[in-house]
């Protein structure tokens, strides 16, 4: 059996890192005619009669690029026609550390009863499209809830496959929709809920988390109000300093939207360079400028798509009672003015 990931000068079969290409030196192939090799050379899973799909090249060696990388903990065989000519396995990487659940958002211990979104942040790319097997929501100590999450295939991962977005079933949260009427809202007020992430969930590299992880929240009253930057409390810095501009959002907002929704600008719209830090379970932010503050008029520009924990954004609540509230005119941004040194 050949080893995996040997250097190119190796004298046997070797597999490139990430398991994307197989190389077999020509002297190990009992056929010298490249055309015949191209026709007869096949790779199969051990015990399978199916040829693996991929691109084959015969030049200095035989190289085979499978359509998807070879799978960890699997054994493969190389065939020339009816003759098995070599085999290899893709072992677990013993040196790799297991993935960790780094954070669960919302981070606040209290959430509105109409909580919409949960984010799970992992330390490395995870195996996709299996979350329904490894995530559960437990009410109180032991009451596992069913059909609370929206089943989505493919799942909503960030580009690196390290952050997964989970929605509580919006059909159950929205008032008077049929799922809401038949099954009730997913959460009830003044209860404790624990999200459990199962220890057996594996990374894309097939290593399990190893121990159960999660977060616990207590539900408070329904949040049906759109976040309003006009109500945020600002602590304005002194001119000539690099003191932070402190923004008290008065409630926890969506962690990932928050990080990209707020910018500080001069009243003429010119952006103030600096960095925004989010603290206090996503209920406060701190903006520190790169240069010292000049006296003058400023604005916070807030993207209207910023949401609170219940999915209300700056333009509209998650579900609007049309008998009592009017629709706002949708805007791309909302601004909040403030002055420094005046």
């Amino acid at each position: 059996m050949a080893a995996c990931e040997e250097p190119p000068q190796a004298t046997g079969l070797w597999i490139e890192p990430q398991h994307t290409v197989l190389h077999l030196p020509l002297f190990l192939v009992p056929e010298k005619d490249p055309a015949k090799i191209r026709k007869l050379f096949k790779v199969r899973l051990r015990g399978s009669g199916t040829d693996i799909l991929g691109d084959l090249k015969v030049s200095e060696d035989v190289s085979f690029v499978p359509l998807i990388p070879f799978t960890t903990n699997s054994r493969y065989e190389c065939w020339l026609g009816e003759k098995k000519i070599d085999s290899f396995s893709i072992p677990y990487n013993d040196n790799a550390t297991g993935p960790k659940l780094l954070a669960v958002y919302p981070m606040s211990g209290k959430v509105p009863v109409n909580l919409l979104k949960i984010y799970l942040a992992f330390s490395e790319p995870m195996r996709e499209n299996v979350s329904d097997r490894y995530i559960k929501l437990v009410k109180g100590r032991s009451d596992t809830l069913h059909e609370v999450f929206l089943s989505l295939q493919p799942e909503l991962w960030n580009e690196d496959r390290t952050v997964l977005t989970i929605w509580l079933d919006p059909g159950r949260i929205k008032r008077e929709l049929q799922p809401n009427q038949r099954m009730g809202a997913p959460l009830e007020e003044n209860n404790s809920y624990t999200l459990v992430v199962d220890k057996n969930w594996t990374s894309a590299q097939s290593i399990a988390i190893g121990k159960n992880a999660g977060a616990t929240w207590t539900t408070v009253s329904r949040d049906s109000l759109t976040p309003d930057p006009a109500l945020w409390r600002l602590q304005v810095p002194k001119p000539g300093t690099r003191q932070p501009l402190n923004i008290d959002l008065t409630e926890s907002l969506d962690h990932f939207l928050l990080a990209e929704s707020i910018r500080v600008q001069r009243s003429d719209g010119k952006r103030v360079a600096g960095s925004l830090t989010i603290t206090d379970q996503d209920s406060r932010c701190q903006f520190v400028p790169e240069a010292t503050w000049a006296a003058g008029d400023y604005e916070l520009r807030v993207d209207s798509r910023l949401e609170d924990l219940a999915g209300n954004n700056l333009n509209r609540p998650f579900d609007r009672d049309i008998t009592t509230t009017r629709a706002k005119t949708a805007k791309a941004y909302y601004t909040r003015s403030f002055s420094i040194g005046k």
Partner: protein, 366 residues
């Protein structure tokens, strides 16, 4: 030596440029080359066999010439355990793969299946009774368009990538336009774009905020999960199914950017259930919308009854009511569907034992 290397590098660059050069006699504005497709979330064909690939990871749609041979008649497709067969052909276990979409090329009647490996690698396959083959995307004629985020053009991360990346939930091509619905991993809103094809620099794509009010009282917005474009009484409509289950009808000509667009909820498809795929078929001279559902059998609505349903935003759609529909009891847990030809539909169905089968049904049997 350095100079020599530089020369080789230039030569290689020249090859790369040549490989992506536009060619003549090319009404679709295609170039020849290898599209950098990073994921395949959705597939759709135009009537003349151009394959549209929705790539969520690069937030782009690719249009690819397939060069399939024309056929008028389609063989019934019946493959038991298609998930196992795909896994075998990819050299992995079936637990590692997810079938993300399937679509039939109306020119060749060939079934295309998009698959994602657990590490995120996409694969595009053609499947039939005789087996599974890879669809090569090397040196093909193609074009692509990035789904620009019209709201937050300056929201980019340190590497200059847009921060908001939508998952493309469905694609459809109709009458010179490509329609794309998206789910965001961040905000809970409906993005629906209409993009003229051939793709051009002058994009006319619009991100739309669309609302529906099912019960006369609460107006909501929600991301579209799957949709169909259809003519009802001579007018083009978008029929959208949302993550919160209602089936909503919008006149296409009213969908304009920046407007508060209200749709008409025509049905709710049952508690704990979401339509996951839909297509339009004709039988007995009438047109029907058929839907695969997560928790219910395939349901079928006559377009006539959608057109005549006068329930408006002020009326409650009670239970499974609203527009009447019928269910096909044998077809539960249908994951994917598409028209195989004018008379047949190919269906991907999850069986009781968890296996996934491909089967063919005549329109009449639905």
């Amino acid at each position: 030596m350095k100079q020599k290397y530089f020369f080789i590098a230039l030569l290689l660059a020249g090859v790369a440029l040549a490989a992506t050069r536009p060619f003549s006699g090319n009404p679709n504005g295609f170039i020849k080359g290898t599209p950098e497709i990073r994921s395949i979330s959705a597939l759709s064909f135009s009537k003349d066999g151009i394959l549209f690939i929705g790539d969520s990871r690069s937030a782009s749609v690719f249009a690819v010439e397939t060069n399939d041979k024309k056929t008028d008649w389609a063989e019934d497709i019946a493959v038991a355990g298609i998930d196992q067969k795909i896994a075998d052909a990819l050299g992995t276990q079936k637990a590692n793969i997810t079938i993300t979409d399937m679509a039939v090329n109306p020119v060749s009647k060939k079934l295309y299946i998009a698959v994602q490996n657990s590490d995120g690698t996409p694969a595009l396959l053609k499947a039939g009774n005789k087996g599974i083959e890879a669809v090569s995307l090397k040196d093909v004629h193609f074009s692509s368009i990035a789904l620009n985020d019209v709201y937050a053009e300056d929201a980019k991360d340190a590497r200059g990538r847009p921060l908001r990346i939508s998952t493309i939930s469905d694609l459809a091509f109709d009458n010179g336009k490509l329609y794309v619905s998206g789910l965001s991993n961040k905000e809970f809103s409906s993005t629906f774009r209409s993009i003229p094809f051939p793709f051009s620099d002058q994009q006319d794509q619009a991100s739309l905020e669309m609302y529906h009010a099912s019960h006369g009282r609460y107006e909501t917005t929600s991301p579209i999960r799957t949709f169909a474009i259809s003519k009802i009484n001579g007018k083009d409509y978008l029929i959208a199914s949302y993550t919160c289950t209602p089936l909503v009808l919008y006149p296409l000509d009213e969908l304009k950017a920046g407007m508060h667009v209200k749709g008409r909820t025509v049905a709710e498809m049952g508690a704990g259930n979401t339509p996951i795929d839909m297509t339009t078929i004709t039988k007995g001279g009438e047109t029907y919308l058929i839907m695969g559902n997560t928790a219910r059998p395939v349901s079928e609505v006559n377009y006539k009854s959608i057109a005549s349903f006068e329930g408006t935003l002020t009326q409650q759609v009670a239970g499974k009511a609203g527009t009447p529909y019928i269910e096909v009891p044998s077809l539960t847990k249908v994951l994917q569907m598409d028209k195989l030809d004018a008379h047949k539909v190919v269906i991907m169905q999850k069986k009781e034992n968890g296996d996934i089968d491909l089967l063919t049904s005549t329109n009449e049997a639905l």
